[in-house]
Symmetry: C2
């Protein structure tokens, strides 16, 4: 095992002790409340880490694109997979049915009739059956039916289609009542009120709802406030990042992903430039200010990134780095960083213990 | 050749007629003003397109990381390469010297003594010589010496080191006088005043400055205002994007890169969601608002992207897309989109004429 200091920068590293602790804590909390843990693998995109999550007690995994399902099926990570995306078009539904045959259960979500009909046609074409959840928009302002009644109506019409099996309802993220993320003028009722009403009217219609699926990392720690939940999907929690710390649900010590970078320029007294930018850290602000947290210089801020340069403003920094110095950055959003690199390095005790190919990187389809 | 309609979405396509016209127009303008064209290949990262630029009359290419130089050297794109980055550390300077041996000229830039000394040590180790330019910060607020005098001082100290050959000065971008990008309180003198003063004091010191290198796509069309320029480096201009259009130097018809995407959800009357997000378009705002321009729905805006979802606000759109419809998005920043995908498709007359591997994708080191 080589010392981590021999890694060329920039390099995306993961502190293995911290990551293993994150996996255990999340599993313990969800288990304690009787909620199945279905980690979202889009955060790491690394089959070996999905296997660690399964070994810790996860009930299955969550994927966001068919490409991720295919890569994780190839690696035999889990035989129970939820694909939380509207799958549309014959090419994709054919791929869906092909990979479904290699798993015990591959469920999908849908929020409209066009998707339901396309899935049903594929199920008929391939003589299979597709378990599905209705995606509900409970305040995110992205995909999802807008009301519990719309969830019931869509479930009813979709379950009447050949080859379609209704399994439940899902949302992302699990949200307290409040403002919509995309339209601050609208207020959303929140996931609890939405799910309560949905379960009431599904019950009145005599339709069982075996799966009620929530999501999101900060929400892990309040799943107990949503008593109907049967499972929870979270991704970021395996690594944590500036967003998680800003949410109050993790500390810097819980942040496993650290981007090693080298200071390559000190053009002014208050400016340093390091050797990575959006091509590693991305330009995701992800609800926080700046572009990452420099562990060695906590008073420094990263106001701007170019593709290959990160600019550090040292105006309020008590000490200042030298050219050639290696720094460690906790990214704003760890999931998107995984997608930028071909390899991630697992580090323990200052040694590179594992070199993981990011096998599902770039799976945009 | 397959019809473009058979491409699974999302897919990054390039209209070949538009791209070829962009290459020719840029070359013609720079040639007309006697300025060498040194296109920045970080925009496309595709050797075949670098060859088109060379065939059109480029004098060489610009790269931003050694990994890009290596990939383009493997493909024999150009034997004259400028690497516009501070190269630091023995691992990287060894790689630099190794790839330099395969090229007629590989020049680098530097803005500090630590980098100069490291390069010199590598030149000695490998019995080579390193041509270098001094990087000047003329208003960008990133790397670069801060004054013409600092450029002269650094050039003098670096040219005294063994194996180092001073060739000139460079900046990015070529900037008119005005505010610094990173600190709006500071005003920068602009590239013209900086270069004029630098040439005066280099002349007084008796040091020839054979190369004066400018950069940036919008600045292509005003290079004639900088009479000392010997070469110009621009990347985006091969494709163009929302930033270029916003700068007033291109129209939508000049935008060659179009991201094909499918509308997968219409959750509300005013919202559509399509099947790609930051994992294709990135979250670069790049000085413009929104997250891309939808060609079919010019009144629509993309207020927010998730990793795999793009949200369209149709509040001001006269017509509205259906679920299943394919749309074409001009990205805010084309360079970063190239880095997100393994393949880009060249399209002409509705057919996929070329499938290019993005060979230098992911070259973060």
């Amino acid at each position: 095992m080589n010392p981590v200091s021999e890694l060329e920068t920039p390099a995306v590293t993961v502190l293995m002790d911290v990551m293993e602790d994150n996996i255990q804590r999340v599993q313990a909390h969800l288990s304690k409340h009787g909620i199945a843990n279905r980690p979202h693998i889009k955060t790491h995109k690394i089959p070996a880490l999905g296997k660690l999550q399964m070994q810790a007690g996860a009930s299955g995994i969550t994927c966001q694109k068919i490409g991720e399902v295919e890569v994780f099926a190839d690696a035999n990570v889990a035989d129970d997979v939820l694909l939380t995306y509207n799958i549309l078009g014959a090419a994709k539904t054919d791929r869906l049915m092909a990979v479904a045959k290699r798993l015990k259960r591959l469920a999908v979500v849908l929020d409209n009739d066009v998707v339901a009909k396309g899935l049903s046609a594929a199920a008929v074409r391939h003589q299979g059956e597709i378990p599905f959840l209705i995606e509900c928009d409970t305040g995110m302002g992205r995909n999802g039916v807008q009301t519990p009644q719309a969830a019931l109506d869509l479930a009813r019409s979709a379950m009447r289609l050949r080859g379609m099996r209704f399994e439940g309802i899902m949302t992302f993220p699990l949200k307290p009542p409040g403002a919509s993320l995309t339209n601050p003028k609208l207020s959303a009722p929140g996931s609890l009120a939405f799910f309560r009403e949905a379960l009431k009217i599904f019950g009145q219609a005599g339709i069982p709802v075996p799966v009620i699926s929530g999501g999101g990392t900060p929400a892990i720690w309040t799943v107990q406030d949503y008593p109907m939940l049967t499972e929870h999907r979270a991704g970021t929690c395996i690594y944590n990042d500036v967003m998680t710390v800003a949410s109050g649900t993790a500390t810097w010590d819980n942040c496993a992903m650290r981007v090693r970078a080298t200071v390559v320029s000190r053009p002014t007294e208050t400016r340093a430039v390091f050797d990575c930018g959006t091509k590693v850290l991305t330009s995701d602000t992800y609800t926080v200010s700046g572009h990452g947290h420099v562990m060695e210089y906590p008073d420094a801020v990263i106001p701007v990134l170019s593709e290959e340069h990160g600019v550090i403003d040292l105006s309020n920094a008590k000490k200042k780095p030298q050219v050639g110095e290696v720094i460690h950055i906790v990214p704003n959003h760890c999931c998107v960083v995984s997608n930028m690199v071909d390899e991630v390095y697992g580090v323990r005790g200052g040694k590179v213990e594992a070199t993981w190919a990011v096998a599902a990187r770039g799976t945009v389809r």
